[in-house]
């Protein structure tokens, strides 16, 4: 199981843990993560406009490198996954964008969305399998009540992301079960935490973050796991003190369960 | 290609040996160094004459209409583009699939002898294919060609190296892609002309037609029991062109009858003794169908409804054509 791996800017700095535990767990599960040689920041926001070309180039370059390496492209950060997956979809389905990007990059071989983009969680589900994963758990997280926070970027728009049921996802809950813990379902797990406006409009971010965390807390969760450094920061830093819960990267718990933390 | 030839022959011998087929449909040498004739081999011994090289362009699928009705099983060799015609014939119930063992074989593009001759080559003794080179040995010495330069037009816009049907495949390790141009490029050029220029173009091309029916005979889609143009009762039967419109009529109707069924195998143009680019009529229909009704590849499978036996309630109106800009 070899994948080209796109870590993204934040995983090299503030979210080193997310990356580190992911790599350790991958090793334990027999997944080979080959970091792309020269990747550039994806921009962290998917440019939705039809006439945005330059802002999509870094994603396309990463996609092309993976294609040339002959592997699927694995992502870990939710934002990177969202941006790269949607740009890939543009390259596959929007002839105008495809033509303009190819004209700009002028690659030897035109790129038209051939690379498959998979999130680390999808690798766990579709390549490793949660049953197999459960067998490799040496340190079951018994008794832990964990709330999964999906946020927006992994799920929406469902027609493009094809990650899970956008309104009723189960992939992280299945992971939690495989690690021996108890998943806690709560209504706001796929509602926005307001992360994108944390810099600009902190009150909104605070309100959103609090509503997410309090919803999980009311449902009886001990902690929240996430795949997104921005959600991680936001749910922690912007949540009302009275409602706070520990926010953990899912990879950290995974590493713990697999005994490689 | 030499090793592919060997593998195919070996396979054919094995099929005879274990009795899984009683005939093999392939090619054999004709009168000249570049003449390859579709042929049915009935025993391993007969395979001595079997040949597979750059001149084996003929699409064998049409022969199966007759051959698959004979007793026993027949093995057929299909190049990737032939497999589309094969599928289309299966879809139209014209060949009996159960009586056929279809072997998909490798193709690195077929050679156009006219292009070789056009380079002034005379008195050809033999032709040697060597990777990307074609060496023509003549009485006056050797002449080397870049293979890509002497390929048939249809191979320059090859529709892909993947077979869409077959029971077994014999393929090269390194597959050669010969595609260098868009197959609609020439259609687009014609579309860009003025109507008068187009009329003159087609008038001069079609007036060369001698109604030899070679195009009709080779075309895998032209497989009617009796062609309307041969049927006294149809009201259009005509053995020869009685006026300048007759050949227009014949070729328009022929193209219309194969529209949505033509796999663009290009055999019509290859066999035309007058070198009329007949495939440009078929490709026009294909291009229109793709643009108007969504991309459709005849023969890509054996189930999908053809575009002329299907419709959408929101289809384009015919006024689309008369509303096109330009003169007239």
């Amino acid at each position: 199981m070899t994948f080209s791996y796109y870590p993204g800017c934040t995983l090299k700095t503030k979210a080193k843990d997310l990356d580190m535990y992911a790599r350790r767990s991958a090793q334990a599960l027999g997944i080979d993560m080959q970091e792309l040689a020269e990747w550039q920041c994806c921009g962290a926001v998917y440019p939705q406009a039809k006439d945005e070309i330059a802002t999509k180039l870094s994603s396309v370059r990463a996609l092309m490198s993976a294609r040339d390496a002959g592997h699927d492209l694995m992502t870990l950060c939710s934002a990177c996954h969202h941006v790269i997956k949607r740009v890939n979809n543009d390259m596959a389905t929007d002839t105008d964008i495809r033509m303009k990007v190819n004209n700009y990059i002028k690659p030897e071989l035109e790129y038209s969305g051939e690379t498959k983009v998979v999130h680390y969680l999808e690798v766990l589900r579709d390549y490793v399998g949660f049953d197999e994963l459960a067998k490799k758990v040496v340190n079951p997280l018994k008794g832990k009540k964990i709330a999964a926070y999906y946020g927006c970027l992994l799920l929406r728009p469902g027609s493009v992301m094809q990650f899970d049921d956008a309104e009723n996802p189960s992939i992280m809950e299945d992971l939690i079960k495989a690690m021996g813990a108890t998943p806690v379902l709560y209504a706001n797990r796929n509602e926005c935490c307001g992360g994108y406006v944390t810099l600009e409009n902190r009150p909104t971010a605070q309100r959103r973050a609090t509503s997410v965390v309090s919803s999980a807390k009311a449902a009886g969760a001990d902690c929240i796991i996430t795949a997104c450094p921005l959600c991680m920061y936001n749910l922690d830093a912007n949540c009302d003190e009275s409602q706070k819960l520990p926010i953990i990267y899912f990879t950290e718990l995974l590493a713990e369960a697999l005994g490689v933390k | 290609m030499q090793e592919i030839f060997g593998l195919i022959k070996e396979k054919a011998e094995k099929l005879f040996a274990d009795g899984s087929v009683n005939r093999v449909l392939g090619w054999k040498k004709g009168e000249t160094e570049y003449d390859r004739i579709p042929s049915v081999f009935e025993s391993a011994e007969e395979l001595e004459e079997f040949v597979y090289d750059g001149f084996c362009a003929a699409n064998l699928s049409k022969y199966l209409i007759r051959e698959s009705r004979e007793d026993g099983k027949i093995a057929v060799l299909l190049k990737p583009c032939d497999s589309y015609s094969f599928n289309q014939l299966v879809k139209e119930h014209r060949i009996k699939r159960d009586n056929i063992y279809a072997i998909g074989i490798d193709c690195d593009g077929k050679l156009d002898i006219d292009k070789i001759k056009a380079a002034g080559v005379k008195a050809i003794q033999s032709i040697e294919e060597n990777g990307s080179e074609v060496i023509v040995h003549t009485l006056y010495g050797d002449k080397k060609f870049n293979r890509q330069d002497v390929l048939l037009e249809r191979c320059l816009c090859c529709k892909g190296k993947d077979h869409v049907s077959g029971d077994e495949f014999i393929l090269a390790q390194n597959r050669v892609d010969t595609t260098v141009k868009d197959r609609f490029e020439d259609v687009r050029k014609l579309e860009a002309m003025t109507p008068d220029e187009r009329f003159e173009f087609w008038r001069s091309e079609l007036s060369k037609c001698i109604r030899c029916n070679a195009c009709r005979n080779v075309c895998p889609a032209c497989n009617c029991i009796k062609c309307v143009f041969d049927n006294e009762d149809s009201g259009v039967a005509a053995k020869a062109n009685v006026d300048t419109f007759e050949e227009n009529m014949f070729h328009i109707i022929r193209a219309f009858h194969v529209a949505g069924r033509c796999t663009d195998c290009g055999e019509c143009s290859r066999v035309c003794p007058q070198h009329i680019p007949l495939h440009l009529l078929n490709r026009k229909f294909i291009k229109d169908i793709d643009e108007l009704y969504g991309e459709f590849k005849a023969g890509a499978d054996t189930e999908t409804k053809g575009p002329l036996t299907d419709y959408r309630t929101g289809d384009a109106e015919p006024s689309l054509i008369s509303d096109r800009g330009g003169s007239n």
Partner: protein, 663 residues
């Protein structure tokens, strides 16, 4: 040798004023094959017709051309005329020199010239006409109704009333359909069971009606007037003739925890059960997947308690073959599954229910005996939110593009009933549009608002959040331009309705067409709304498109009228101008079959002589069923070889017309 007679009508001055009729007759006489030509003031008059008959006899005519008004006017008249004179009625052509000539041209020279060309064209065509005979086929005087809901029952009752036999085939263990699950009906608020169950009993007691419950139509062959159907009667492991419906077995059955379909899974039923008290037939059925005896071989309690000895554990499916003259499709509908709409938390909270589930929760025979209680904790809900258009009017893959038509009205009904019975309960309805076209419908909706104080909010709900045993409903109120948040105890979703999943296979079986939503297509959207394009197949109820009960019943009766009209005939005469396949030319490619809207084309293997040592070969060739073909001609153009031709409008005939015009 052709001997054609041409008759030019003056139509008083209607034609004669702008067409020189004598010149037309004169010109026609010069055409090859014409042996007689004349003109007369009114060809359609008795005297005119006598003139034609006489001329046919005197001149031994083989074909007739009448230059007169439109064939749509008098073609049928003149066919009878020539037939009376011993000529085949199809050896006649009409040149339309009135509507399409004299009436639109003013210049007599121009009119005359054109009339001559039109006459010449008709002569050219009639020379190629062939005598045609309308086919005859017998009619089996029995109808098959597929689906035993209110639509099927009503159609069956009406057909039986006219004295014809009817079979109802229903896949459930009882007839009655969706209406049995409905509590009250709009706009009168009478109880659904009270008006439906008597009809179910009528159907069961009617001598002409035979009910095949727990059965499915497996195969239909044949064509209008003589269909042959195979019906699979599924084993219910209870002898229908012996069971008295006493219910002793159901109360003793130890396997009790099985989802009760009738109450939509809101409560449980035993493995042997009678769907509901008024079921028809009132006969028990064993759910083999839940039955302990069927699964393990041990138990057999029901057999012991059944005093009638009706339990038959080894009963097998039975195939019944029956013949029919007409088929009624009444396959009905289902609400869509809501698993793709989880923003409304349907799968997360039992207190989010569909409207049909609410019907059960309010019905006296339902799981709560008619008291409205929350499924989660059995308490009275005090705030209820209704969400309209869930899955209707959608552009995406999740929902349906159409309006489900019934939801606005039943939601008003639900809201009104709740407010009446539980005045302390607040009811909010989120709507996009309120659609109430129907007799007394808008008045009904207004009553819900004005008399019962139901809160209608124009806007849509974006998210339902289960929270602390409540449901936080967040939606927009477009009129006050605000986002509203309502703490609700229950949420009711007006799920879109879709055709029953069997519609597609039934359509295939009958070669009836369905649209992209799987609703059956009518033969003509305005003028033949209860017929399918396939002759002898009729449409009743929601299988054709969303409908409420009154509309369904009206359509069911209309459908029955059509069936009765067909069954009343002893013989069916078919239009002889139908397609014909020339087997010697047909290559069996199926292209004609693909464009035939009636499924009139089938294929057969035929042996043909061929040159060569084999002497003959088997070829697949097209066959046209003349009773089914309607003569559109789509196949004739699809066929590249010209093997397919249309009688009365043959390729040669039309070519001759073209040639005659361009001469």
């Amino acid at each position: 040798m052709h001997r054609i007679g041409v008759f030019v009508c003056w139509c008083g001055t209607n034609i004669a004023a702008t067409v020189d009729v004598k010149a037309v007759a004169e010109a026609a006489r010069k055409e090859p094959g014409v042996v007689f030509a004349t003109d007369y003031q009114y060809m359609c008059s008795e005297a005119g017709q006598a003139l034609i008959r006489q001329a046919i006899k005197d001149n031994a005519l083989t074909g007739v051309v009448i230059c007169s008004c439109s064939p749509r006017m008098h073609e049928a008249t003149f066919r009878k005329t020539v037939q009376a004179a011993g000529l085949n009625p199809y050896m006649l052509e009409i040149a339309n020199i009135r509507e399409q000539c004299s009436w639109i041209h003013k210049d007599i020279k121009e009119g005359t010239e054109k009339a001559i060309i039109l006459a010449r064209t008709a002569i050219a065509k009639v020379m190629l006409n062939k005598p045609l005979t309308a086919g005859e086929s017998a009619v089996t005087k029995r109808a098959l109704v597929i689906g035993g809901g209110i639509a099927g029952i009503q159609s069956a009752l009406d057909i039986a009333e006219a004295g014809y036999e009817v079979d109802i085939v229903e896949k459930q263990p009882t007839i009655g359909g969706k209406m049995t699950q409905i509590d009250k009906t709009f706009p009168t608020l009478d109880c659904a069971a009270c008006i439906l169950t008597p009809k179910m009993v009528d159907a069961a007691q009617n001598e002409k009606i035979k009910i095949f419950s727990y059965s499915q139509v497996e195969e239909v062959k044949g064509f209008v007037g003589s269909f042959k159907a195979k019906i699979r009667k599924k084993a219910r492991f209870v002898d229908e003739n012996l069971c008295t419906g006493c219910g002793d077995c159901t109360s003793k059955c130890p396997s009790k925890k099985n989802k009760n379909e009738f109450n939509l899974g809101l409560d449980n039923r035993p493995a042997i059960y009678i769907p509901f008290a008024q079921a028809v037939p009132k006969v028990a059925v064993i759910d083999a997947e839940a039955c302990i005896k069927k699964k393990t071989g041990k138990c057999g309690l029901c057999e012991k308690v059944c005093s009638a000895g009706a339990i038959k554990y080894d009963q097998q499916d039975e195939i019944i073959e029956r013949e029919y003259g007409a088929i009624v499709v009444a396959t009905g509908f289902n609400p869509i599954k809501l698993d793709k709409y989880d923003e409304y938390a349907y799968s997360q909270s039992p207190d989010v229910v569909t409207s049909l589930e609410l019907e059960r929760l309010m019905n006296a025979a339902g799981p709560t005996q008619g008291t409205l209680l929350r499924p989660s904790d059995g308490t009275h809900p005090h705030t209820i939110v209704f969400i309209q258009c869930v899955g209707s009017r959608c552009d995406d893959a999740r929902g349906k593009s159409y309006c489900s038509k019934i939801c606005c009205m039943y939601t008003a009904k639900h809201a009104m009933l709740i407010r009446e019975k539980y005045p302390d309960t607040d009811v909010h309805v989120f709507y996009i549009d309120v659609r109430t076209p129907g007799k007394n419908f808008d008045e009904f909706y207004r009553r819900a608002v004005e008399q019962y104080g139901v809160d209608y909010i124009k806007g849509m709900v974006g998210k339902v959040i289960p929270h602390d045993g409540k449901l936080l409903v967040q939606g927009s109120d477009l009129i006050s331009n605000e986002q509203v948040k309502i703490d609700a105890d229950m949420v009711v979703l007006a799920a879109a309705i879709e055709p029953d999943p069997t519609a597609r296979s039934v359509a295939t079986m009958l070669t009836a067409s369905i649209d992209t939503n799987d609703f059956f297509t009518e033969a003509h959207p305005k003028l033949r709304p209860v017929e399918s394009p396939t002759a002898g197949v009729f449409l009743s109820g929601v299988c054709q498109g969303p409908k409420d009960i009154p509309e369904t019943v009206a359509q069911a009766s209309a459908c029955a009228a059509k069936v009765i009209g067909l069954l009343a005939k002893d013989k069916l005469l078919s239009n002889p101008c139908v397609a014909r396949a020339d087997e010697s030319l047909c290559s069996g490619c199926s292209v004609c079959q693909n464009v035939c809207p009636y499924g009139a084309i089938t294929y057969e293997d035929r042996e043909f002589r061929i040159p060569g040592p084999k002497r003959s070969e088997i070829r697949r060739v097209a066959q046209v069923n003349e009773a089914v073909c309607q003569g559109c001609g789509a196949c004739t153009v699809a066929c590249p070889s010209g093997a397919m031709d249309l009688k009365g409008f043959s390729t040669k005939q039309i070519m001759a017309e073209v040639d005659a015009i361009c001469r």
